[in-house]
Amino acid sequence: MTAKVLTIASGKGGVGKTTSVANIGVALASRGQKVTCIDADIGLRNLDVVLGLENRIVYDLVDVIEGRCRLRQAMIRDKRLPDLFLIPAAQTRDKSAVSPSDMVRLCDELRPEADWIIIDSPAGIERGFRNAIAAADRVLVMTNPDVSAVRDADRVIGLLEAEEKGPAALIINRLNPAMVKRGDMLSVEDVHDLLAVELIGIIPEDESVILASNRGQPLALDPKSKAGQAFQNISRRLMGEQIPFMDLESQNLLQRLLGRK
């Protein structure tokens, strides 16, 4: 096996990188892929919480890099999916504890044992971001349909082009179809038009995402959740399937019976 290294980046904070890493990791692992997620947000770790693995951390990324433990010892197996692993970030250090070449070495060591390595990038475009993209074969840029998130995504895509990291793919998160319809939110077309890169996922706004994150139970395992389905679709597209984008405009039965628009 030779894993593909996937980094999820956004520039702006709070657009949903960590939630996406957890859900795409879960979705891929639920399809029989071997997945290792790495939290590169050293000092502000969250991925362990979203995956519900917080209480199992013994060693972390910095311990591996500084040689205090073997790589295997820092890999936490998910409690639901045996093919999903997490390498957590250190909470007591900062971004300068890791360098881009450390990340390349770490991923090279992981590659033979997995299908996917998914790296959660910190917000910003400084050292932490450069660490996160150093080993990436492919970068997914995440944005929300608002002007500042799109502006930052544009900057990140520009930096990736400058670093010759190949064409980025775009995920639009927290789309609210009703607001788009009213003209109060940028539409998928507006965002895609400006950023001009391949679109790989559209995730609708969904309150249950927050609930799931707090509980440490990723939504991708919930077949009733639209956001969960969107993450499943991204994982299938990553595996090379052609999946059409979900129809987010469709109304449910009740709305149709009430004749709402």
Partner: protein, 228 residues
């Protein structure tokens, strides 16, 4: 001392250290430099460094690898000076400065002696947020100029795409400079000393030309002009 000291010169400047690497065998030069840094790590740690690489033509991979090696040693590389235009472009792509002091665009500088009047810089778009083009002649962009991007030209600016960033034409005082774009909606538009922002537009956009008329910045549809 030894031969490496003749290749590597270190000078203190206002913004940190200016290090000149002379020689053309880039890999050797880098390893000599890194070795030099390792030998005196306490001196270099935490330094802000501007690097003069002379005529070396450097690509993204070479420059970013050096930047990463330096940052691992606690050194921040903020500028790369070079005689090679390839290296300058690379440095700009990586977000590094290519001059020690930021030249003020409106400052009346001596026009470059050898720049012919019709010289233009060709930029392949899209020019994204954070991208910056600074050129003493005309600038032609093939693609969109996104919000957050900046073009400063001594002459005119032509954008074959949507212009939504900041553009300054005639930055050295040329009032005959024009700005044209397939969709002219810049965050801010400057020609010579005049500044304007785009009015909110309704309806379908069309190609437009902006120029200075009697000291006023005006934008006109392209069709009307070609009818003249």
């Amino acid at each position: 001392m030894d031969e490496t000291s003749s290749l590597i010169q270190i000078k203190g400047i206002r913004d940190g250290l200016l290090i000149t690497l002379s020689g053309t065998a880039w890999p050797d030069l880098v390893s000599a430099f890194v070795k030099n840094v390792d030998e005196r790590s306490s001196f270099f740690h935490g330094a802000r460094v501007a690097l003069n690489v002379g005529a070396n033509e450097l690509r993204v991979a070479e420059l970013s690898s050096l930047r990463d090696q330096l940052s691992e040693r606690g050194i921040a590389l903020w500028a790369v000076l070079s005689e090679s235009p390839v290296t300058e472009t690379t440095a700009q792509n990586l977000g590094l400065a290519t001059r020690l002091s930021k030249p003020h665009p409106v400052q009346a500088r001596e026009p470059a002696e050898e720049l012919p009047e019709d010289a233009a810089k060709w930029v392949k778009g899209p020019l994204r947020s954070g991208g910056r083009v600074l050129f003493e002649g005309n600038v032609v962009v093939m693609g969109d100029v996104n919000p957050g991007a900046e073009i400063i030209a001594g002459g005119s600016v032509i954008v074959w795409g949507r212009l939504r960033g900041v553009v300054h034409a005639g930055a050295q005082g040329d009032e005959k400079a024009v700005v044209c774009a397939l969709e002219l909606a810049p965050t801010q538009l400057r020609i010579a000393g005049e500044i304007a922002v785009s009015p909110k537009k309704h309806g379908k956009s069309q190609p437009e030309v902006a120029c200075l008329k009697d000291g006023q910045l005006v934008a006109e549809p392209w069709q009307e002009l070609t009818g003249r």
